[in-house]
Amino acid sequence: MADFINEWGSAIWEGFIQTTQMTLISLAFSILIGLPLGVLLVLTRKGGQWDNAAVFTIVNSLINIIRSIPFIILLFFLLPFTKTLVGTTIGVKGVIVPLVVACAPYIARLLETAMLEVSKGIIEAYQSMGISTPKIIWHVIIREARSSIILGLTIAVIGLIGETAMAGFVGAGGLGDLAYQFGYVRFQPDVMYAVIIILIIIVQIIQSLGNIIARKLKKN
């Protein structure tokens, strides 16, 4: 055990840091892009506050299209776009772009679903009190949906961790890459098992944390 940690400890730790970096940075950008898109979907849908069939259809189909492309294909397909946007297609920087492109539409969709669950009645009550739409979105809709949003984000994060495993193809490293390179390609199964166990623990922790926070936020 001690030998194993001596030999692989630092590599695994480095992989862990890279995975965490990739996940958190892409999550942040995905929320930044996904949140407004989700709100736009809710507002422009039929019967929404800014009912607009054109905008809704465009955003809605775009999200569907992106979500139907497997991540590994998206990764290569986006290479030129990534290059112009961040100047490189490799390393952590290079993989953030495809991760965000894959994750933001997912987050938009989960926000949309969570926000649509909020009762029309409460929104109307706030409209009837003369509260403006932006305030209603933030302080009523997102607030009331926050528990479902957290649960959705938990799934998004776990999905992102899975996708970072493919980041190895563009040399971004991370735990998944480590398991693939050493465990599979160079046949060091103990490294692979160690990484898998670590990933299982991470996913368990994130899911439990998500559940706890969601329950706390729900208040009933």
Binding site: I122, M129, G130, I131
Partner: protein, 337 residues
């Protein structure tokens, strides 16, 4: 306070048109409680929602406190809405906020200063009697308590008018009474005009000054509650009040009674209910009155007594006796077959 003039509202659902309101005009005076009653689908909710423009009328005019609300720009409309409180059948509280925050949050969003928010929230929670539950969440409250929170939330804006869309329809009779009592106090003590809609006659009876009866998007009858109760004109109104059903007597019994005299339904209002009219009748004329059925309805400021009386005697004597009754301060209706 509220004036609707020739208001119509047509919903378009695909190719179908639903005329929810057809040329509705009514006026709610400052300080009164005005109720609209009607069966499900009559258009009541649509009507009340046209007051604060949660629903925009297809045509017609809406005035609140003298302002033509349809002409207000977005911001002015929001300002106006703060003067119009609204409560709903479904309470519509934030599930994620406790009682205190449910009342305070809208004020915060309107930019009311902090001390003022605290003062008002506490004041109105006190008025609705929920001070000791202020850190409870809606899921921990009963329906009646939730409606109280909603009322406190509406009052905290210190509105001039309170709109109520079936506020008691989801509550049991006792809780309904308590909430109606609260609305009465809000009206009397805070001087807030109340415009409510309901399908429960009891609500109209207990707290309304005036009433409009709605059917298929039209107002078929309106007037003071006492008038509408004692002299319902439209079949629709009669169905609601269903006076007949209270005095339902088996038709064989009725036939017998009609053979030996006449059946009259007497409606006594307020003071006249204290006069011994039937005793006088028996004494002065050669008829034998007997009471077949009776009851008292309690209205907001008045009680209404109803009696079904059989008058037995010689035809002409009975005729004169009926004439005597007509001269009294009672409403007389003949019950034929």
């Amino acid at each position: 306070m509220i004036k609707l003039q020739h208001v119509s509202k047509t919903f378009r659902v695909g190719k179908n048109k639903i005329e929810a309101l057809k040329d509705v005009s009514l006026e709610v005076n400052k300080g009164e409680i005005f109720g609209v009653i009607g069966f499900s689908g009559a258009g009541k909710s649509t009507l009340i929602r046209c007051v604060n423009l949660l629903e925009r009328p297809t045509s017609g005019e809406v005035f609140v406190d003298g302002h033509d609300v349809l002409k207000l720009k977005k911001k002015a409309l929001r300002q106006m809405r703060r003067k119009i409180g609204m409560i709903f059948q479904g309470y519509n509280l934030l599930e994620t906020a406790n009682v205190y925050d449910n009342v305070a949050t809208p004020l915060k969003l309107e930019g009311v200063p902090n001390e003022e928010i605290k003062a008002r929230t506490e004041k109105y929670l006190e008025i609705v009697g929920l001070t000791d539950r202020k850190s409870a969440y809606p899921s921990q409250l009963s329906g009646g308590q939730k409606q109280r929170v909603a009322i406190a939330r509406a009052l905290a804006h210190e509105p001039e008018v309170l709109l109520s869309d079936e506020a008691t329809s989801a509550l049991d009779p006792n809780t309904t009474d308590a909430i109606l009592e609260l609305l009465l106090r809000v009206n009397k003590e805070l001087g807030i005009t109340i415009f409510l809609i309901t399908h429960e006659l009891n609500v109209i009876q207990r707290i309304c000054d005036r009433v409009a009866v709605m059917e298929n998007g039209r107002i078929v009858e309106q007037g003071s509650v006492v008038d509408v109760f004692t002299r319902p004109q439209q079949p629709m109104t009669k169905r609601f009040i269903s006076t007949e059903s209270k005095f339902q007597i088996p038709s064989t019994v009725k036939d017998d009674l009609l053979k030996s005299g006449r059946l009259v339904k007497l409606t006594f209002l307020g003071e006249s209910s204290k006069d011994p009219i039937l005793a006088t009748l028996a004494k002065q004329y050669d008829v034998l009155p007997s009471i077949i059925a009776g009851g008292i309805d309690q209205l907001k400021n008045q009680s209404v007594g109803k009696l079904l009386v059989h008058l037995k005697g010689d035809k002409t004597q009975v005729e004169i006796a009926v004439g005597f009754l007509h001269d009294q301060d009672v409403l007389v209706e003949e019950v034929k077959d």
